[in-house]
């Protein structure tokens, strides 16, 4: 077991990549701490699977090195890397029993039957598939098949990392949360590094201690779920995480202050950088309706259960508000206040304000 380091990894599926746009992974420079529970979150096509396959050795990166601990494994095949990977759709060996399926990775590595039995029994117990051990894997339901796939990933106790590539896609919603909790629990018991790929933020936030957000082949931010929510490092993260996502308001910088539609908006602290495009970012949870402030017209107001979501239009910018108060009428003119310590500045997409200390 070891820390996994990616050094300047780039990957292109084209034989002769030309320019950044040809790269599915543009530049990944990141370490995964031993024993961490990571979620890799990002929209479809951003390179999550590519990154996993490079860590597992199913693909060789076009550029860069991969280290496990101090050992350079860039040129090693998957079976020499001591990793486990679970795929989106269940892979089971049809002709074998559930027991033999689970035992397969161990037997291929020449473990003796006593150890095999011990491990398989333990994993079957954890996944609650003990009663099925004797049945043929082909006859299982899809979610049980996926459990077996996951079991094969978890059965070896010496792996550097277990990677899950959207493993719950085929699972019924009501089983999804059960398996998700199971995985979390397994992480505590198995003690290996786990990387969990998903494009579902709830899944990422419940599973992981650290969430790695990717977009267009780059890692945009790494942080705890709370950090991602409170201080998105990029407008993409702000927008992608949270429902509704962060409000992004185009603004002007004058005399060190931010102006939205000519009105000064108080930021959390000093501006650290400037850029061609500057925007104010504030989460809907920190916007309130007030007697004064930014003026806008209510376009939509809905009670979605625990709270109300109000959509206000100011000029041509849409601002969402999450509130517990009274629902305003559609078409009503309202005023908005932003909580100052949660109002941030973004320059060219990246965070450009600093909290006052």
């Amino acid at each position: 077991m070891a820390r996994i380091t990616l050094q300047n990894v780039r990957h292109s599926y084209l034989p002769n990549p030309d320019g950044d746009d040809d790269y599915a992974l543009k530049e990944i420079d990141h370490s995964w701490e031993d024993g961490g529970a990571y979620a890799l979150l990002g929209p479809s096509g951003c390179g999550k699977s590519t990154l996993l396959n490079i860590i597992s050795g199913l693909r060789a990166p076009s550029e860069g090195r991969i280290l496990f601990g101090d050992e350079d494994v860039t040129d090693l095949p998957p079976d020499k890397r001591n990793i486990a990977q679970v795929f989106q759709f269940p892979v089971i060996y049809d002709t074998m029993t559930v027991y033999d399926n689970l035992a397969f990775p161990l037997r291929n590595r020449g473990r003796n039957e006593k150890i095999v039995k011990e491990r398989v029994t333990a994993i079957a117990e954890m996944l609650e598939v003990t009663p099925m051990l004797k049945t043929r894997a082909a006859n299982l339901s899809p979610d049980n098949k996926q459990k077996i796939s996951m079991g094969r990933g978890l059965v070896r106790n010496d792996v550097n990392v277990v990677m899950f590539d959207e493993p719950l896609t085929v699972i019924d919603p009501h089983l999804k949360w059960k398996l998700r909790l199971k995985l979390k629990e397994l992480h505590h018991r198995v003690n290996a590094t786990m990387i969990y790929v998903t494009h579902d933020q709830t899944e990422a936030l419940t599973f992981a201690d650290q969430v790695v957000v990717m977009d267009l082949g780059v890692i945009v931010q790494i942080g705890t779920p709370v950090e991602l929510f409170e201080r998105p490092a990029h407008t993409f993260v702000g927008h992608f995480i949270g429902s509704p996502g962060m409000n992004i308001l185009p603004c002007e910088i004058r005399d060190g202050g931010a102006f939205f539609r000519g009105q000064n908006v108080a930021l959390e602290g000093p501006v650290t950088r400037s850029g061609e495009r500057t925007e104010i970012g504030v989460r809907p949870e920190y916007v309130t309706l007030a007697p004064t402030g930014i003026e806008g017209v209510v376009r939509k107001a809905a009670d979605i259960g625990r709270h109300n979501v109000i959509e206000v239009v100011a000029g041509d910018t849409r601002i969402s508000v999450v509130s517990d108060g009274n629902l305003p009428e559609q078409g009503e003119t309202v005023h908005l206040q932003f909580r100052q310590d949660q109002t941030r500045l973004y320059a060219d997409g990246w965070l450009a304000s600093k909290a006052r200390s």
Binding site: F87, Q88, R152
Partner: protein
């Protein structure tokens, strides 16, 4: 259940009529012949099961049946593994896929009697490409009309040439239906090439292999045209397979009764062996 809609029978009727005309009625005439004796002039005498007894006890039938099983056994033993190996080594994507597929399909498109004639000319000792090369360049005596071994090698190689493609194409289709994730998972699990074949590829090819084996069994067990054009059943009787023998009895000697009895026995054997194959190969699926 409520009384079923009887109109459905109307829709099956055309098929029933068709089957009756092309299968049942011809078979009934054969059954009719098999229990009677005739000396021509449309005179028939009741013979009971005598012809069946006679055929089943005749050495000639035993020998032909033996040759038939030998032939079918040989070509199955060669074509099935060979077909699998070729399918496994074909490219999965890219420019060469259509090239391979078309090349593979070519032998199957050639009419059967042409295949027989082609191989006949191909192996002629003095002018055939292969025959000349073996006899005159390599100095290996090779003459189908003289040596039974040469004749056997030729009919077997000819069938392998003609029909292995069928097995290849079926297996290839089976292989292409395996998602990449299976191979990736196998790599992660540390599976050897043999294990990948044994636990991923073979199980996925099983259905198509069942079809391939059945088709090749039935086809080769009933084979007539190609070996007949190639060797005419000779030298001697060495390549007289069941169907060739049957035609000899029926049309050569005009023994309609024994020929009819033999056809029915032949048919029963084909059916029985096919059924056994099928049951053996699909018995795992049911439990």
């Amino acid at each position: 259940m409520k009384s079923a809609n009887q109109r459905a029978w109307l829709f099956v009727l055309p098929v029933l009529v068709l089957v009756a005309f092309n299968a049942l009625i011809p078979i009934m005439t054969v059954v009719n012949y098999s229990v009677q004796e005739t000396f021509g002039d449309n005179l028939f005498f009741w013979q009971g099961l005598d012809w069946f007894q006679q055929i089943l006890r005749s050495d000639r039938f035993h020998a032909a049946l033996g040759r038939q099983f030998l032939f079918t056994g040989l070509i199955l033993a060669i074509e099935i593994p060979l077909g699998i190996v070729i399918a496994l080594s074909m490219p999965k994507r890219g420019f060469w896929v259509p090239v391979c597929l078309v090349t593979m399909a070519l032998p199957m498109l050639i009419p059967w009697n042409v295949v027989g004639s082609m191989w006949n000319i191909f192996t002629l000792p003095d002018i055939g490409l292969l025959g000349y090369f073996l006899n005159h360049t390599l100095g290996v005596p090779y003459d189908m009309t003289q040596s039974p071994v040469a004749a056997w090698i030729t009919i077997v190689v000819m069938d392998v040439w003609h029909w292995t493609s069928l097995v290849v194409l079926l297996c290839y289709a089976g292989l292409m239906s395996i998602p990449d994730a299976y191979y990736q998972a196998a790599k992660i699990d540390g599976a050897s090439n043999w294990a990948v074949f044994r636990y991923i590829q073979l199980p996925k090819m099983k259905t198509v292999l069942t079809i391939a084996i059945l088709l090749r069994f039935m086809d080769s067990f009933n084979i007539y045209t190609e070996p007949f054009t190639l060797t005419g059943g000779g030298p001697g009787n060495s390549t007289t397979l069941l169907s060739i023998d049957l035609v000899k009895i029926a049309l050569g000697q005009f023994d309609l009764g024994p020929a009819a009895a033999m056809s029915l026995i032949y048919f029963a054997i084909t059916l029985l062996v096919s059924w056994v194959f099928y049951t053996l190969m699909t018995k795992d699926d049911t439990n």
